[in-house]
Amino acid sequence: MIKQYQIFVGAVAVAAALAAPMRSADACSQAAPDLVAFPLQPANGANAPANTRVWIPLTGKESAADLGLFNSGIAVPSEATTIMVDNGNYTAALVVLSPRQALPIGASIELQRSGVRISQFTVTDAVPAATTPPSVDRIDVDGAYFGGLSCPSDSRVTVYAQPADRLVLVLDHDATTATLPTVIRGIGLGNAAVLDVDAGTQKFDIVSIDSAGQLSPPTALREVTVPAETSGCNSGNGSIGGLTPLIVALVPFARARRRNA
């Protein structure tokens, strides 16, 4: 005859088995995304203003020292700034070349990597300044899934902005946009994602770079709330520590029962 406590113990065993991760870590492993997969800004063959900056994604073992601007074969004195892209899970870098002096109107400027031309743009005075911040279409805020019964996913904030052909940059709210930012949380053409953000309130600024290499002013502060992580092997919506008040409440009953025995 099966006793009640045996049914209970059996249920505990089943639940414990279900709580164990069903997939190995290898099955869920993901390759790091290419955080700086965007075309050069200004784009190859584009027109750019005299005070343009050149935004270059870094790949592999490249460094800022490999890159340079040339006007008719003569090096254009430029300041190279390396910006970290840190979306919370992966890091990468990009380089911004800022000519120290205004570029001559009509000049054809070449971007060279280790002496090899990789891009060219023409300096004109017909390019309007980027005076307006990007228009944000949508911000998706997704809470993380811890895993356990299926593959985990990070919490994520994805910004979709217009024009869709502009580079979107997501910056921490305390980052300065008066000069070049030193860290970018997300970057991408038309949309940018920030991964693995903490649950709770997060504050971001959003800027864009147009095809002439101009950095826009930031949007108004965006404040989002990232939902708490969910899981497949949690004891409640919190932890087993939540049983503490009940265990404390049980102590007097346990003592009374011992006395009776």
Binding site: F8, A144, Y145, V224, E229, T230, L243
Partner: protein, 174 residues
Amino acid sequence: MRRALTFLSLCLVVASALIAHVATAAADHNVAIGYVRGQGLGNFGVSAAYTIGPLELGSALFARVGDGERGVAIAPMLRLNVAHLRRTSTTFASTAYVEVAPQVVLTSFGGVTASGTGLSATVGYELRFANRLALFVGLGLHSRGVVAGRDGELNVTQASEFGPHIDAGLRYRL
């Protein structure tokens, strides 16, 4: 054949529960209120239930507060006391139970109203003391879909959840 046996077993369980109830019904206090945690909904909940024979109908209300979230989860429940109030000593009685509870989450993430639904099933054990207090502990599984909401450009989603949970609670029978 297998279905017939399963049906017969279920009938036996229900019949024995009903018989047990008849034997102990006089001692019942039909309304119970108290604290509850679990069902995958959190650590802070209040519950109320009404006993009808071996069945209990009730609902739990959980607070969902923290990390910018403000809301509640409502879990109406149907509990079957399998061996209703089997008296095991002079100071308390006990019963195993099976519980099914749909879930509705109504919450807000930083001002974005979001909602979702789910279902939990629990097997547990309750001790009822002579002073009308009752303690219960249960184990079960819950499945909840995404809790999602939209407000203008903001689209907030809390991931779905499926897994085991530990229920526990302290009730007082009125």
